[in-house]
Symmetry: C2
Subunit: 289 residues, 2 copies
């Protein structure tokens, strides 16, 4: 199977963004990819840079969603699995969600981002409820795919949970860039890759992350997204990597059978000790169960 990871820039035009995303997916499929990852919330500029009521209107219910059906058609036409990020309205709640579309065009499920960041330039707690779906791994036509979303990628818990639920590939659509001047760590892109490379090693599986690029200005505030999208193997070796500024499609042939053999041989999942992991189910390390 062949994984493609799309790194792209966005504008404030939904139409432009959709056209670009569709074009990239079509090219990737033409080049043989059957699992294609777009970045997080590619429908617009990363509006979480600011806190403005107007952006709540971007949320739509899964049923009758304005553009998910376009990608369902696209997935089917191209015989490709396509996880698609969208701003989900559900009753009075709003989620940073991901619909994983199988190559049949069917939506296999919706994952709602579990870990919601907050800080200068990343005001997600203003827009999104913390997800309530739990972690997900979907049995797609091309393999068992675990989908996290952006901030989830810093959490060993989400990677491990997806692996335990059967994932053999971990995918992370992302929107991350340089931090505003008031933040001490100016550019996190190296640490960002290291965290995920660690997940790939510890869970002995392939991993891909798709980030946006470009400088986006919203209401006078500016933020530059650092790309650095990549695909790594089950040893954490990067097998495809984008730079910090250009739109591109990354490709990698994944040998899931080889990964499976390596994973069993390493024995990580044989030697786990759930009987000792109770502190993980607390915030402060003090078991209250």
């Amino acid at each position: 199977m062949k994984l493609a990871v799309i790194q792209m820039s966005m504008t404030n035009s939904l139409r432009q963004n959709l056209e670009k995303a569709i074009a990239f997916v079509s090219i990737a499929a033409k080049n043989g990819a059957n699992l294609i990852l777009l970045p997080e919330l590619f429908e617009n500029l990363y509006w979480c840079q600011v806190q403005r009521e107007e952006f709540f209107a971007l949320a739509h219910p899964l049923e009758g969603h304005p553009f998910l059906s376009i990608f369902q058609k696209l997935a089917k036409e191209n015989n490709s699995v396509l996880p698609v990020s969208f701003f989900e309205l559900a009753g009075q709640a709003r989620f940073n969600s991901l619909a994983t579309i199988d190559s049949s065009g069917e939506i296999l499920g919706v994952y709602r981002k579990s870990h919601i960041p907050d800080g200068p330039g990343y005001a997600e707690k203003y827009y999104f409820n913390p997800g309530d779906t739990g972690f997900q791994a979907y049995k797609t036509a091309v393999g068992h795919v675990g989908t996290g979303i952006c901030w989830d990628q810093w959490y060993p818990e989400s990677a491990r949970a997806m692996a335990l639920l059967g994932a053999e590939i971990l995918l992370y659509p992302t929107a991350i860039g340089s931090e505003p001047a008031e933040v001490a760590s100016p550019n996190t892109h190296v640490a960002w890759q290291r965290a995920m490379i660690g997940h790939a090693v510890c869970n002995a599986m392939y991993l891909g992350a798709a980030n946006r690029v470009g400088t986006e200005v919203i209401h006078g505030l500016s933020q530059t997204y650092y790309g650095s999208s990549f695909i790594c193997d089950y040893n954490g070796e990067k097998i495809a990597e984008a730079n910090q500024s250009e739109e591109t499609i990354l490709y990698a042939d994944l040998d899931l059978e080889k990964a499976r053999s390596h994973r069993a041989g390493m024995g990580f999942f044989r030697d786990r000790r759930p009987d000792l992991y109770a502190p993980l189910l607390t915030l402060d390390g003090k078991t209250k169960r």
Copy 2:
């Protein structure tokens, strides 16, 4: 505070190994280190390369242990915190244990290795019970120190648990080397570092690993330990690293206050979702609680 990580080779002479370990610790302390990490089971060749009854005799109870008191005296004399690996006999059970000695000479606690490997050249399941202490973080004179042992270092669960229990530095005494010819992955040292670098990033804290070096022959079998001991910072940046063959002492000045500030700023521990982590407490992802 200053961390020292000792990379050394061993012989089959307890006396030689002790003399060397003591000499290295003394040098490290003279050079200003007040937290000094020795490798795993430095008392002997890595006997888990083979399965032989004779090696069970190396296990001794904590009370009246043949060499722990020497290191208690050494820690006190040098005003240094000293985690010391030993083969522990406890009733009919045997553990791969680590006594963390405070700079007062007091043993703050014993951690028993939780994750026990098994495979060609690493027959630890033959010698050790899986540890029953749970993960540990000790409030030492120089900071809150979490201690894992070797195979634990591949497990995000142990790193996270130590962090949740208060650790601000993660330490791993280790015995790892090239895999025997029948194993597909010939040299894991890059992946080995990547796994721990991931823990350092995801838990936003300093980390050190002390490995052995040299080729050891036991009962005609030979294995070469790959060193590559290192210290990294809270961004996963290596700040000291040994090569694959030489004995050495690594040093790093750790700024725990800066790490604490970075850790809070990143927000990893603010956004955790223990309500969703139930799969982590299972072996197969199926929650039975």
